[in-house]
Each structure stands twice: as C-alpha cells, then as structure tokens.
C-alpha cells in the first residue's frame, strides 16, 4: 500500500493550526504589490485590457501580438496620449496579460480587467476558444471587446445571425480563406483535392469552411481528415497518396502545418500544397524549410508589404509597423497575427479618441462601442481598408486577401496571371 512509514501522516483528523494559517495568509498578502500609481492627470487616464495567449499552444500567435502591444504603447506615450474630441489629452495604458491559451484564465483575466482595473475597452483573445469564453463576460459587463481571433461566432450570434453589440474583430475568417483557396484552385483547374486539418477547433473550422464553399466552385474533396497536431507520424499521408487528389489543402498553423507539409512533400510528390491563412507566418518557413517552397496560401497584405503598389495606403501603415517590429524584436520577420493585434489596438485608440472627457465609466464604454460602430470608416489597417457598421463588426473585405507563395524562403505575392 502506501507504506508503514506514512501511517501517521495520512491517518487521523486534520486539526488546523491557526497560527500556521495566519502565517501563510500573511506571507501571501505581504507579497502583494502596491496599489496602482495614479498617472499625472490631464484627462482621466484610459486603460486598454490586452489579453493574448503568450504561452501555450497559441504562443506563436500571441507573442507577436504582445510585441505589437508594446510597440503601440510606446507610440502612444511618445505622442502624449490620445486626444478626445474636446481636445483634452488622456494617457493610455495597455495592460498586457497572458491567458496561457486557456479559456478559464482568459475569463478570469477579463473579469479582473473589467471590474478591478476598470478598463474602457478590451482587446482580448488570440485563439477562438478563450475569445468565445470572454464573449458573455464582455457582453454582460457592457464593455466593448475587440478580439484577435478568427471565429465568426465571436462577433455574430450563431442562432440569430445578428451582430453581438459589444464584440468586434478585425480578423478574417476561415470562410474568407476558403473562398480565396477555391478561387485559386478553380483558376488553375484543380477539381479534386485532399483536405488535411489539425485536430483543433481552428482546423475543424477550416474543414467546415472548405466543405461549405468548395463544391460551389466545382471542387470535390476526395479525402478529408484530421491529423494530430503534436504527432510525428502521419498515416493520413498514405491515404492522400491513394486518393488521387491533385492538390492538398492544409488547415493548420505552424509547427503542425510545417510538419504535415514536410510529410506530404516528402512522401507524396507532385501535388500542389495549399495552406490556409493560419500558416501566414515566418514560423512556417523556419520549421518547414525547403518543403514549403512553392506552396500557396491566402494571406493578409502585411506579409508582403514591400511588394504592394506604392499607392496602396496599407503599404505605408505596414512598412512603418514592420520597421518598429524589427527594431523591437531584433530583426524578426512579421506575421499576420501581429497585424491583427495592430488593427485591433488601432481601432481601440481611434474609438477612445471619440470619447469626451469626464464621462463615468459605463458611459465611456458605451461611447467607445458607439465610436467603433460608427467612426471606423475607410480605415487603412494592416490587412486592408476596413469599415465598420452596426451590421458589420468585421470590416474586413475578402478581396483584401492576396495569394502568396513561398519562393527561396520568402513570401512572395502571386499575381493572378501567374497562378498555375
């Protein structure tokens, strides 16, 4: 059993040593940080509650997002805060938190930011799961929340198909990605594809989107299956070989996307590999290496900013961000997730700039929400030119996706006339 030597430890009642209880509690309380410092006031300082998945499976998305949050904080500080419509300047503090890719932690952090920190707006949620968990919290607390995740259900109620009044996101959805993929496949004349997706919510959603959209473009999914995100063997590749599909569509994010890419490229030659927008990250190239050459995927413009035409307003925004990003990270290439964070935070700042000074917290949050719905028009973000409205809390135009390919270890725009 447990062993004789433990009898005393386990048996008998548990009498509380009150002194010990107090000692433990005191120690814990004593370590608590000092109360927050009041910022030197002009207008009341604004707080943005920023929650990203900096650790856990979402870290490859969340870390770039955190970098961008820091960059924006620096920029805002340099400008002396944000100016309201009445000219009063307000300091802006971006409170950066890590939800560890867990819905639980995200929910607790959201509640804390709303109730304790009294933020005016939340920019929260790298992954769809934690974002969805925060949706009822933000809605109940009447606090506007801008998510950096892609699930449609974040901004739209799946039953009623109506926009959730307090939720916004600048991130394109898997439906848009699938649409662009279908466009490409149709243009190059591929009618039979395999669809491999990682066994996560994101992957499942890419498959569902493909199932919804591909048939309309005359594309048949000959073989569709999930693969283990953390696996090293992929028996699914064997079945790809057997199915006779001419292209393999992959719904995954790196490193899983890289591993399956390597497996498919290594074992099944001659098929076109088409990724989804979740693979638009330098991590793909870094972890897939030569196997990623020639793959195509629909990506946000930020990934290929230097190749955009000079008159594209998005180009200027992106190049400035990339410069700051590389300075802050010591030369790392940018990913689309950083762009999502940039757009989300920019919206928040724009909206805060519409709030008159002196409003109580709940009215301020109302004002931010309204500003988001009505004042974000033709805004040049990292992924395109966006406009929000009461019926559209997304603002992303699917036409702003570009098809991108990997050539010599870099992302390169593939213009339509070169699709093959």
């Amino acid at each position: 059993m447990i062993g004789r030597s433990t009898r005393g430890q386990w048996g008998g009642g548990g009498r509380l040593r009150l002194a010990r209880v107090l000692w433990v509690l005191m120690t814990v309380l004593a370590v608590a940080a000092a109360p927050l410092l009041a910022a030197p006031g002009r207008g009341t300082p604004y707080k943005i509650g920023f929650i990203a998945s900096i650790t856990g499976p979402g870290a490859s998305l969340g870390i770039p997002e955190r970098e961008v949050a820091r960059i924006i904080q620096e920029r805002v500080n340099a400008e002396g805060g944000v100016a309201g419509p009445d000219g009063v300047r307000h300091d802006v503090q971006i409170l950066i938190n890590d939800d560890q890719s867990l819905a639980d932690v995200a929910a607790s952090l959201a509640r804390r930011l709303i109730e304790q920190e009294r933020v005016q707006v939340l920019v929260a949620g790298t992954l769809s799961g934690p974002s969805l968990a925060m949706v009822p919290i933000a809605s109940d607390a009447r606090t506007p929340m801008i998510s950096m995740a892609s699930a449609r259900a974040i901004i739209e109620d799946p039953q009623s198909k109506r926009m959730r009044p307090w939720l916004f996101k600048p991130v394109p959805e898997n439906l848009h990605s699938a649409q662009k993929q279908a466009e490409y496949l149709q243009a190059v004349g591929i009618t039979g594809v395999c669809h491999l997706y990682e066994n996560t919510a994101y992957g499942q959603d890419t498959f569902a989107s493909a199932q919804a959209l591909f048939p309309k473009a005359g594309i048949r999914i000959l073989y569709g299956d999930s693969f283990d995100r953390t696996g090293t063997e992929f028996p699914q590749v064997t079945r790809v070989r057997a199915s006779g599909c001419r292209a393999v569509v992959i719904g995954s994010i790196p490193p899983a996307a890289s591993l399956i890419n390597v497996a498919v490229a290594g074992r099944v030659g001659g098929r076109k590999i088409v990724h989804g927008h979740g693979a638009c990250s330098p991590d793909l190239i870094r972890t897939a290496g030569a196997a990623a050459e020639g793959t195509v995927m629909p990506c946000g413009k930020i990934l290929v900013s230097d190749q955009l035409p000079a008159n594209d307003p998005v180009r200027r925004v992106n190049l400035a961000l990339i410069q700051d990003y590389q300075r802050a990270t010591g030369g790392q290439a940018i990913s689309t997730f950083a762009g999502h964070a940039f757009d989300a935070l920019s919206w928040a700042l724009l909206a805060l700039g519409q709030v008159p000074d002196g409003l109580p917290l709940d009215r301020a949050r109302d004002a931010v929400r309204e500003a988001l719905e009505t004042k974000i028009k033709n805004y040049a973000g990292t992924h395109g030119v966006m406009s929000l409205s009461p019926d559209d809390h997304l603002g992303f135009n699917p036409a702003d996706f570009v098809i991108v390919t990997v050539r010599e270890g870099k992302f390169v725009i593939l213009p339509r006339n070169q699709w093959k």
Binding site: M1, I2, G3, R4, S5, T6, Q9, I54, T55, G56, A59, S60, I63, E198, N199, D225, S226, F227, D228, T230, G231, T232, E233, P235, Q236, T238, R239, A242, P254, P255, S258, L259, V262, G266, R267, D283, R286, T287, A288, G289, A290, A291
Partner: protein
C-alpha cells in the same frame, strides 16, 4: 525491509484472490495473444481505407521508429524503479532536455564543422542532462528517502513541472529545429525499400537505440558500478551489507535514466520540432511501455516500447487523429487491471507488485 524497494505488501496482506481459479498462462503467451487480437482488429478497421500490404509495412516501419523511442524512455523508468522503487515522472523532462540543449549548443559557433559540432553538442547535452538527473535525485529525493513511495512519486511530478517551466523560460514556447544527422539540415535523406519510405533519421534512431542498449548491457554485466546497481535492485539490504553505497547507486540510477531519456529525445529531435513540452506525452507513453515489463524487466520494457509504438501507429492509421493518444492509456488501464506485474518480467529478477 527498506523503504527504497519496489512496493512490498505491508503487515499481513492477503492478496486479493479471485474465487475462480485462473488458468495459468505464461506472460509471453498472453502478450502474444493480446497483440494478435489487437492487430486483427486494427487490420479489420483498416479495410475501409483500402490499405494494402505496402501501407501496413509503412505503418510498421513508422511504428517501430516511435516504438524504439518509447523503449528508451521505458528503460529509464525501469532503471530508476528497480534501484529506488520510485516511478520517476521527471523522465519525460530528460527526454525534452536532450534535444533542447543540443539545439542551443549547436547554435553557438564554437566549432566550425557542423558535423563535429552536432556530435559534441549532443554528447554534452547528454552529460548535462545526466547531471540534472543526478542533481534532482540528490536535492529532492535523497533527503526524503524515508518518506512514503507516493510522496516521492509526487515529488517527481513536481520536478517535472519545474523543469518544464524552466525550459519554457529559457527556450520560450516556440518549436525548434534539430538538423537531421545525415544531412545536417532540416531536410532529410529518404530511402525507398520496395515502396516503403524510410527516412535516414529512422536508421539513426534504430542504430543509436541498439548501441545504447548494448552499452547498457555491458555496463550492467561488466562494470563494478553496473553490478552494484543490479545488486541494489535485487536486494537492497543485502547490497548494503556487502558494502555497496545504495544511495550513490540511486543517484547513479537517476543519471543513467537521464542519459537514456536524453538520447531518445536527441535522436528523435530531427523528426519532430522539439518544444519545451514535448516530454509529457513521451514520458507517459514510455511509462506505459515500462509497465509491460512490470517496471522491473529491461527486456519487457524494450519489447513493450516496440509493441506499443507499432500498435499505436496502426491504431492512428485507422482512427480519428484526436483519439490516437487514447490507445496508450487504455492499454495502461488494462495492464494495471489484468496484469500489473507485466507480461515479460524475467523470472529470476521479478518482484511482486
């Protein structure tokens, strides 16, 4: 009766005897039977995918690759358990430290020739991991060697969490790349045997594992330290009476387990993308493999690893991706319920559970 042995019943403990007399089945026969049944079931499930013999062969090869890694990890469990009685949950952490340290060392330009650098980085990484393993034992387990077995097991769980946490701080959450041994780059050479694709790294895995097991056998048979360790495993008190420093042997056992784990992780590294949390799954599955040998038999653990690897890969080939991990844990439960002493415990060194 010392406190470091594998668990022995306390006081007078009447084993739970089932009222029906069970027919006496030898371990090997039972295992062969179980494997046979499983294979038949899996093949039947695989028919809907139209798998041919080539596909099954491919799955077999892939499974043997994974299985060899499981076997190495399992051996680490057995070493520690036989010498100290503890189930070392930190074993998975050693599997992770091997490749991660190798990658860090390889990335530093202290030797121009990449091949040499990789080899030496790997060797250094193994040594460092061994040091970590021994330090872990000295600091956290040796002082409480009189504590209950369960307490010490939970301590190893805590140690796993700490090591993984430190790995997260040092290396971050991103996946890293360990170059393939044959090409010293990410892309590996592949061989075609018939229609079955074998990566060069797979050969490395098999060769390294064989060499490691061979060396370990030599260690236990020929060296004084090895024989002393075996003596501790068989009868701790007698070993002490013979003048063997049992505590030193315990620390050494941890070091050896760390070496085994690290080698397994390093040689697997190029196939996957090493991450700070890769040790959890490998550790748990290696543990299941070790149970096949009742935690006391090296051969049992090695064969258990291979069997688990192959069957699991077969299962992965016929089921939804998310259910792949289910297999190992169902096997674990079944093993614990039906035959916790394992199928393959070598008779002369078997201990009762």
């Amino acid at each position: 009766m010392g406190t470091g042995e594998p668990p022995v019943p306390t006081v007078i403990d009447v084993p739970h005897v089932s009222p029906r007399r069970r027919p006496h089945v030898s371990g090997q026969a039972a295992l062969a039977g179980a494997i046979g049944v499983t294979v038949v079931v899996l093949v039947a499930l695989g028919r809907r995918f139209g798998y041919g013999p080539v596909d099954y062969l491919q799955l077999l090869v892939d499974g043997l690759r994974t299985g060899v890694i499981y076997a190495l990890v399992a051996l680490g469990f057995v070493v520690v358990h036989r010498v100290t009685g503890v189930i070392n949950f930190a074993q998975g952490a050693f599997v992770m430290l091997g490749p991660m340290i190798t990658i860090s060392l390889f990335g530093m330009p202290w030797l121009p020739a990449p091949g040499q650098r990789l080899l030496l980085s790997a060797a250094l990484a193994v040594l460092i991991t061994a040091a970590v393993g021994m330090a872990v034992h000295r600091a956290a387990l040796h002082p409480v060697r009189a504590a209950s077995l369960l307490t010490r097991i939970i301590i190893t769980v805590g140690i796993y969490i700490v090591i993984q946490g430190i790995a997260l701080i040092i290396w971050g959450p991103r996946p890293y790349v360990l170059p393939a041994f044959s090409t010293l780059q990410m892309a590996d050479r592949t061989f075609l045997v018939g229609e079955v694709i074998i990566q060069a790294q797979t050969i490395w895995i098999w060769a390294t594992a064989a060499a490691t097991v061979g060396l370990m056998g030599l260690f236990f048979e020929r060296t004084v330290a090895g024989k002393a360790m075996r003596a501790c495993a068989v009868n701790r008190t007698a070993a002490q009476l013979m003048g063997i420093r049992v505590d030193t042997m315990a620390t050494l056992a941890f070091g050896l387990a760390a070496v085994l784990g690290a080698i397994g992780g390093i040689v697997l590294g190029p196939v996957t993308r090493p991450t700070f949390d890769m040790g959890l799954e490998l550790g748990l599955k290696g543990f299941v493999a070790a149970i096949m040998g009742g935690l006391v038999s090296f051969q049992g653990a090695a064969i258990g690893g291979l069997v688990l690897g192959v069957l699991e890969t077969l299962w992965a080939g016929v089921t939804l991706a998310g259910f792949k991990d289910l297999f190992a844990f169902v096997v674990l439960i079944l093993l614990l319920l039906i035959r916790p002493q394992g199928f393959l415990a070598a008779r002369e060194e078997a201990e009762s559970p």
